[in-house]
């Protein structure tokens, strides 16, 4: 199995930390500032002493000056849940390299950075019933085995924390295979509802769903997620090279379209793609979602080390 990220890239990613624009709302202690008061080194406020308070937090200097008992309060540091919504539908399997591979690498990088920052990482792959919709063919034991492994990996990826889990995280991520038909909006809505607290959400998809993407993104924002959307398209989708009289079959729905396409009609198509991407970008900007568009054969470092950093996804 080929490693998703090179050791060199992992080393460079270790320098980053996810920049959360909001306070962590998790109830679990972690490394992130939160509005909750608790035990840390960061002084937050004073309050009057009441019977039963821990005497160790009394400010004796203040008692000396004012002759009154005040208790020093410290900020409670909580964990930051990072949820990665990874589109694993059939359509993500296209491209050279495939869009799913690229998405998985981005997910691995973000997850690795989060794990290094002691944040909880949760990967939600949709459709999440891989292995049931696409039963392996008879006699293809290797496929069957890989399907079982993928199911196990999915389970393991639901909640990962700690730097020591990072290698297992990357391994599990590498075991995933794309397949099946996804409902983008439904998947994101369910993810939003199942999350106990908001956090950082990164959506990795091609955003080519007949049902649209608006409802799904809206539900994440409403749930308090700090959302980043990464649209990954294959080079063939951006600039097709199949010309002539074609019958195009949708890999997920099986729906077909009859198209006569040629070099001279390429301009119309690229305009359609441009408009689609621009519409998505406008939608994201209006809702405070950071948007990134990239090609599956683009440079991963360019996205990770430059664009995400410039957009202060991490720093």
């Amino acid at each position: 199995m080929k490693a998703l990220l090179t050791p060199e890239l992992l080393r460079r990613l270790e320098q980053f930390q996810l920049l959360a624009k909001r306070h962590a709302k998790s109830s679990i202690r972690g490394e992130r500032r939160s509005k909750a008061r608790g035990q840390s080194v960061e002084f937050a406020d004073y309050r009057n002493y009441v019977v039963g308070d821990d005497l160790r937090y009394l400010d004796w200097n203040l008692y000396g000056r004012l002759d009154r008992l005040f208790l020093k309060l410290y900020e409670e540091e909580r964990e930051l849940p990072v949820t990665l919504f990874l589109d694993g539908s059939e359509s993500m399997g296209f491209g050279e390299p495939s869009k799913f591979d690229f998405a998985r690498q981005v997910a691995a990088a973000i997850g690795y950075v989060a794990l290094c920052g002691f944040d909880r990482v949760s990967v939600r792959v949709f459709p999440n019933h891989r292995g049931r919709d696409a039963p392996p063919q008879a006699g293809e034991s290797s496929n069957r085995q890989s399907s079982v492994d993928a199911m196990k990996a999915l389970g393991a990826l639901k909640s990962v924390r700690g730097r020591k889990s990072s290698m297992m995280f990357l391994t599990n991520l590498a075991m995933l295979v794309p397949g099946g038909r996804a409902d983008f909006n439904e998947s994101l809505k369910r993810g939003a509802m199942e999350a106990s607290h908001g956090g950082v959400a990164v959506v990795l998809s091609d955003f080519l769903d007949e049902g649209g993407y608006e409802e799904g993104l809206k539900s994440l924002v409403s749930r308090g997620f700090q959302v980043s959307a990464v649209q990954i398209l294959s080079p063939e989708e951006l600039s097709p090279t199949s010309y002539g009289d074609l019958r195009l079959v949708d890999s997920e729905t099986g729906h077909s379209e009859e198209v006569t396409f040629g070099r001279h009609r390429l301009e119309v198509y690229t305009r359609v793609v441009r408009e689609h991407v621009e519409r998505l970008r406008q939608h994201c900007r209006a809702r405070g979602i950071q948007f990134f568009q990239c090609s599956s054969n683009g440079r991963l470092e360019d996205l990770l080390l430059k664009r995400l950093r410039e957009s202060e996804v991490w720093g």
Binding site: E90, S91, M92, G93, F94, G95, K99, D206, L208, D209, E210, S234, E236, E237, S242, Y243, G244, D245, L246, R247, L248, V249, D250, S251, E252, T253, H255, S256, E257, E258, V259, T260, R265, V268, Y269, R271, V272, V273, E275, H276
Partner: protein, 614 residues
Amino acid sequence: MGVNFLSPLAFVFAATIPVVVVFYLLKRRRATRVVPSTLLWQRYLAESQASTPFQRLRHNWLLVLQTLLLLLAVTALARPYFGGELSSGRLQVVILDASASMRATDGKPTRFDSAKLEALKLVDGLRDRDQMVLVHAGVSTEVRQSPTSVKSVLRRAIEQCAPSDAPTRLADALKLAETLTKDAPNSEIHLMSDGAAKDLDEFESQGLRINYHRMGVGGRNAAITGLDVRGHPEDPTQRRVLATVANLSSNAIQANLELRMEGRVLEVRNLTLEPRATSSQVFTTEQRSPEVVYSAKLDFSDDLPMDNEAAAVSQLPRPIRVILVTAGNKFLEKALRSHASAHLEVASSLGGQSPEADVVILDGVSPDPWPAVNVLAFRSAPAGWFTNSTELEVGGIVDWKPSHPLLQAVDLENVQIAKSLAVNPPSWAVSIVEAAQTPLVLAGDFQRNRVIWIGFDLYQSTWPLRVSFPIFISNAIEWLSPGAGGGAPASSRTGDPLRMMLPEGLSTIDITLPDQSARTIQLEAGTRDFLFGDTARAGVYSVRKGTQTARFAVNLADPAESDLWPREELRMGKHGGVGATTMKRADLEAWRWIAALGLAVLLWEWWFYNRRTV
């Protein structure tokens, strides 16, 4: 000004328009490709084209243009034209030489067929405003089609033309063409001929645009150029048949000459003829029947078979009944008695009835009524022939016409005449001997009878003492009794009219032509002499005259016509000449083929476009 179509049948091609539309409606064979999502393609389709067939047709400019192109092509094939007033175009006069030599088989298949093909090509090349006249130069020159632009009419007229067995007078045809093109500034004359014509030097081409389309390529031919039958000078039952055979090829030939009498072979001779050589063969046969047909056949395969055969009708001489009405003329009586066939009867007057004779000779006697037979009259004429006649002293003969049959071998050089009647010749007669002041001898046809009129008394001249006198009398008897004395021509040439004497009281005669077709001819009352002109076919003509039957042989007998070598240049007049030309292909109507080809390419393009897969 309405639109008409020369080829409305071409609208049948409009049936191809639905074919093109069907091509558009047909399901195309498409290559199947699995793509991640068709979402973007749906939007692309919404922007670029509609997907259902009829919506596609609605906005398909290519289909509209192709349908328009088809409509234009079909309309062009239908050849629309506007009937309106236009300035005149070219006038083309096509002369089809229909002479016997055009039957030579070195054409497609004959020279005449080649000529018709060339003429049809000219018709194809006619432009809208051009006109064409078709002149058929056969036995006679006929305008088969007056000026017209209608090609179908011209084609039909050309198809109906056929060659004859006769020589032709191309000069007449060219003169006619000259007349037709006189007022047409933009005119051309197209002569479809092999140039085998003797009379072209009679025609002066004065700036005429003559295109000579030379027909034929070879000249392999041998011909019987003459067949004649003569009496034997010593034995009246013997006949001598004279056949003239010419080799007009460039190689020596060897052939059998066969002589038949009424179809029965009499003799076969093997002949060897050098190139361009002529051989005369004399056959002596015995003839018992008063009339037989001799035929000669040259057994040789050449380009013109029709001149390898010839026929001649031989008639044994029969006595000529001559009545001499005179008060006494020893010279005349002696000259008549010396004629071998003449059966002379001398009378002092004719009496009131028509005489039973072939020839009546009136010596200073003017009977009333004038006899309705052929007459030789000395100083005698019925009232009305001459307006005034006075007697003059004439002295000598100043001129005579030696080419006339009456004056053959007659020398009038030393004939002196004292006095003669001075007359103005009537319209029916020609003067053949003349003095300074007046004609002396007239000859002509008067009321269907031949008449020789002599204006002086024999005793007033030295003529009876000269050798020329009995010769003239003999010539006169022969001329006044055509066909009676065995001197009738054994055969005549194709195209020449047949002259036949008829018994009295006939209303119809039946003529059977060489191709066995029959003609019945209604005669006017009292017709004694009949000319039959439809002798374009060579062979034996049979004429049924009441109870009698006569036969006439008609042969080509024209060495110039049998000489098949196509002439590269036609000599015209004294100095002119026209070289053989080639057809001007630029005028051919080729656009129809190109339009049809374009149509085929269009259909093929769509078939190809719709079957290809990428």
